[in-house]
Amino acid sequence: MTRYALRRLASIALILLLVSVIVFAAVHVLPGNAATLILGEYATPEAVRTLEREMGLDRPLLAQYASWIGSVVTGDWGVSLAMKQPVAAIVAARLRNSAFLALAALTVVVIVGIPLGTLAALRRGRPVDLAIVTATYVGVSIPEFVTGLALLLVLASPSVGWFPTSGYAELTSGVGAWARHLVLPAMTLTIVLLAHIVRQTRSGVADVLAAPYIRAARLKGASTRRIVLRHALRNALLPTITVLALDLGYLMGGIVVVEEVFAYPGMGRLIIYAVQNRDVPLLQMCALVVASVYVLANFAADLAYAWLDPRIRYS
């Protein structure tokens, strides 16, 4: 297990390094460099050159990358151009808010999705299965901003007013207010994520139910309930772990739109702010953090999978 973990760790480290190169390259190699971005299209060439010298943009790319990645690793994430605050502090606060949102969505997805997927597998080809499959299919095909605004329309309109239309309440101002602000954005993300988990659970359970050992359990006289809960789910849910990790990747993209719809102050909204204000240092770190979270989540999923299924470690 340790050997497997170390081997995976080495490839993760390489991927993280490449991720940082991509973030750096996206801003420095594409036409329109950082100085032009900051000063705008109509800046005089002299002003651009002066700023380039100040920011060290006239140095070779490799030297720029080395000094950038050096300060990132040592915790110096620079200062946001638009907010005039240290990037590390801004990102930390926003990341926490997004983590609340992602955790809420993932929890609901696991609690609702796994039973739904199992039910669909048990009633394969029947109306219940068809309804579940169709609903999740449609759910994943509607863009988040449409789902979000539709939920807003139904659950937060002035005449209903169950939930606030947008914003965020700090935990210190009461758990109730905090949770009420979380409901609509989390629900929007849940609708998309449900499709993935239901589909995976459905096919996983259906495959396992066809296995000989389930037949044996049936012939032994075990009840369906016991077969599903004790024998089938344990094996059927293994791939679901990977889907959950991949979903975290989706969540990292999904929050961009959903947070914007509900004006929820997390990473997603911060990214849009950085893009709109062309705040390069802020955007670079946001992108780096988001991609790293995804890579590390996949690493964790690989480890969990290998721990639960010894066959993986030796392949």
Partner: protein, 267 residues
């Protein structure tokens, strides 16, 4: 053949309708898409405006019909660009193998660590917001996924008899890649491309919704929803009409892609 599979039939029928709509829009719209009727703002569906009007009194039916063109253009264009970039990279990695394959695939993995919308946003920050840049950004964001699919399909054919035969004949590597291997990985590529169009349309609409794609006053579904947002409690129609068009189009591409997958036996 199409009619034996319900998913292909339903998806295909809707797609034909949407494509027809996008071509015929300029001739079939009841009102010019930017014509404002200031006395009929935010009207519900009625006799004069069949699907209602938006906050400037523009006809929602006309704008939604016209919105099919930017949506399809962006979706198809971005996927075409993704294929143009991803197919050669995937073919080369799978065919050459070894160190090259390792290196290319690590870079692809690193690019896949970014949610595609984020990758698109990075590119748009550098280039500025416009329809063309949105297409370019989504196209580039699609390339690594395409490369991965093509690579694994062509890796399996690397040692195939017909590939070895071509090499023994002394064919050039480029010919072996595009003339021998590529035609045999076409099925999974077509399926992947069809499914990607749906997601590319969604990504393009998301960018427009965020104000970073198609710019006003063009009739575009994502942009229409962006503008409808403020008035959603006054009239839901400016949200629901383009939202439905968008959802139906994406469902159609997904159905068609899944149907093709079953039909072509690709994974």
């Amino acid at each position: 053949m199409m009619w034996r599979s319900p998913t292909l039939a339903v998806g295909g029928t809707i797609l034909i309708a949407v494509i027809t709509m996008s071509i015929a829009a300029p001739w079939i719209v009841p009102y010019p898409t930017t014509e404002q009727h200031m006395l009929d703002r935010l009207k519900p569906p009625g006799a004069r405006f069949v699907l209602g009007t938006d906050q400037y009194g523009r006809d929602l039916l006309s704008r939604t019909l016209a919105g099919a063109r930017p949506a399809l253009g962006l979706g198809l264009g971005a996927v075409a660009l993704g294929l143009a970039l991803g197919v050669p990279i995937g073919l080369a990695a799978g065919y050459v193998g070894g160190r090259v394959d390792d290196l290319v695939m690590r870079v692809v993995d690193a690019m896949l660590a970014f949610p595609s919308l984020l990758l698109a946003l990075l590119i748009i920050t550098a280039l500025g917001a416009s329809t063309g840049h949105a297409l370019l950004a989504i196209g580039v964001a699609n390339a690594p996924g395409v490369a991965r699919i093509v690579r694994s399909a062509s890796l399996a054919l690397r040692e195939a008899e017909f590939v070895l035969a071509a090499r023994v004949r002394g064919e050039r590597h480029l010919y072996v890649m595009f003339g021998e291997i590529f035609p045999n990985v076409l099925a999974p590529v077509i399926v992947e491309a069809t499914l990607r169009v749906g997601f590319a349309i969604m990504a393009g609409a998301s960018l427009s919704f965020l104000g970073l794609g198609v710019q006003p006053p063009t009739a575009d579904w994502g942009l229409m929803i962006r503008e409808a947002r403020q008035y959603v409690f006054l009239s839901p129609w400016p949200l629901l009409v383009p939202g439905t068009a968008l959802a139906v189009t994406i469902v159609a591409f997904n159905l068609f892609g899944d149907g093709l997958r079953d039909r072509l036996g690709a994974t």
